[in-house]
Symmetry: C2
Subunit: 341 residues, 2 copies
DNA sequence: GGTTCCTCGTGAAACGGTTCATAATGTAGC
DNA sequence: GCTACATTATGAACCGTTTCACGAGGAACC
């Protein structure tokens, strides 16, 4: 290795000079090697090696236009639901040799914007986003400017933007119906803020089902907003509830992480599940079945969700928008239902 | 919204024309608004709005040079260990207004290369990578070319590259020692391929500890390589083992996902844990404590790992390389130890 | 009224690639 | 020996920004 210049990286011009050819030829070696004589090609390749030249992606893209990368923005990269979806995306993308970059908005519209901008400015082919707010005007605008957009885990309110979602209202209904069937008449719902559509929808489903059963949602349902959608959030929320003297018989958690926090707390507080309190989660993550009290949960087809979203994005900007809606299913386990004897 | 031209996005020149100013002025509005008269600024801003202009990041970067983004390449984005690390990275990065893009190599050196190239070509400030192979020559080269590199979860074999890792040999020792203390004299280790350094190191730790106890590792240790480092991999491996007629008394799993698969299988096979078989995992993920048989595991400081790595990357390319090594701790739970009576 | 200084705005030169029309060279055919 | 045609290599234009030396126009001062 000859000594490296301290700063500026080697450019195509440096390579050309070193190999005694023109820049055009170097570019050809890089992009259509068959068009250049083996002898020259080798000379150029040697120069590339020698200078440890790396293409400048910005320059390349500036001239050539597009890039085979797509971006995904999820609410929380530490949530297994989203990473399972990401796996689904990746697998589909691999088939077309596309590349995936994942970013996490942390439910923060500003962060979402920042990443969206970053992706768009860098010319990704498209973006899949789990929007942090209800307002998708900025996504529509992005779409109009020519970057593909697919809404993930959220039905599109606009026909021109594709979406792949799971019916969250139905998920709320399933959970509520199940708890009603188990004889509960009052449900505590540890939910996220309604600015997150999924949360609002699940709430709506619960309300609907309670009403259908002839109960007054105002009294039969208590909604508590957790500070963060993870185990710590669940733990804090249930602890606060218990300290206030309440002892609900049924708790529905907006996701399995929150449910995990609840179960953990109930165990330390010696509250029996499901005898004293039934718990239902959401997402049916891998560990749900193996918990000390196996967790009843609403299963969503994460993999298909991601794969389908990738499909839509790869089908090109001119394809007509599609709105895919998957159905969730209820998986009953010990946390909500006494074993039959 | 006036009708949008079908294709080419508005450029700074279009904006300049629409606002009746020069391109330089538009650029100034974008980058140093205080240098331009409020009246002109407003005119330009109106034009930007009207044309829904978005900066071309490639051009910008080509000219301006650097970008405040860093990339991370992990082995598996669906593994909670890595996403917890990613959270640690994000939080540290936020303080400096840096942006994080995550990609998953899936243990595949080719994919790792691809993402590395992508990141480098796009001029990220630095890259954190959990290398898929032992050979880090390509990372050294990247480092020489001026892109920051920090090895994640893996000690650096080269002094010029920073690394932040957890002592995996020690982790293996802790697990083995614990199982020996519990009276086991033979351990089955469901491990990943030794091309992954963490796996090789943990194996080394186990071997060391067995030898220190006067046992012959050749007979006291059986290593089985799982096909994938997740619950399915664990399930497949333990099932194969059981079908071959073996009934080890102690199983050490290379991570908690694998352990989850094992526990799941043992339950369906009615093999009591820990009475008939002790299980130890690795990573101590959030749900480990709440499993039906709470999982003994080796805890790693994920958050600190990520934060420290981010620190090193942000300290700039000229800072001397540091090699941080955290120590893992053993967390004993019911899956490996009978409750004291 | 002339000099100096400031504030704004301009225009053109980079940045590092890709692409394309064109030139140079060689080969074949007649 | 001339034309026709490949095959390779060249060089300049171009992509859309940022940056910087410079000019125009006022204001302030003597």
């Amino acid at each position: 290795m000859t000594q490296q210049a301290a700063h500026r990286r080697a450019s195509i011009a440096d390579v050309a000079r070193a190999a005694g050819v023109s820049v055009g030829t170097v570019s050809n070696v890089l992009n259509r090697p068959e068009r250049v004589l083996p002898a020259t090609r080798e000379r150029v390749e040697a120069a590339i090696e020698e200078l440890s030249f790396v293409r400048n992606g910005s320059a390349r893209q500036l001239r050539a236009g597009t890039i085979t990368t797509i971006g995904a923005i999820v609410l929380d990269i530490a949530n297994p639901f989203f990473t399972d979806v990401a796996r689904g995306i990746e697998e589909r993308l691999d088939r077309d040799d596309f590349t995936l970059m994942v970013a996490s908005s942390d439910d923060d519209p500003d962060r979402e914007q920042r990443y969206l901008r970053l992706f768009e400015e860098h010319g990704v082919q498209g973006v899949m986003v789990v929007p942090a707010t209800d307002d998708i005007e900025h996504l529509l605008a992005m779409r109009r400017r020519g970057t593909g957009v697919v809404l993930l885990d959220r039905p599109s309110s606009d026909p021109s933007i594709s979406s792949v979602a799971v019916d969250d209202v139905r998920g709320g209904e399933l959970a509520a119906r199940h708890l009603l069937d188990e004889g509960h008449t009052r449900i505590v719902f540890l939910n996220g803020p309604h600015t997150i559509r999924q949360c609002a929808d699940r709430h709506e489903g619960v309300v609907k089902e309670l009403a259908a059963a002839g109960l007054d949602p105002a009294s039969a349902l208590q909604e508590i907003t957790v500070t963060s959608l993870n185990a710590e959030g669940g733990e804090a929320a249930i602890r606060r509830l218990l300290e206030s003297g309440e002892r609900p018989t049924a708790v529905f958690c907006v996701n399995d992480l929150v449910a995990l926090g609840v179960l953990r707390t109930l165990r330390t507080e010696n509250i029996a599940v499901p005898a004293d309190m039934a718990v239902v989660g959401y997402d049916d993550v891998a560990f749900a079945a193996e918990l000390s009290t196996p967790l009843t949960s609403i299963r969503q087809p994460t993999h298909e969700l991601g794969a389908r979203a990738a499909d839509l994005l790869l089908s090109g900007p001119d394809a007509t928008a599609e709105h895919v809606m998957f159905q969730p299913t209820l998986v009953v386990r010990g946390s909500s239902s006494m074993p039959a004897r």
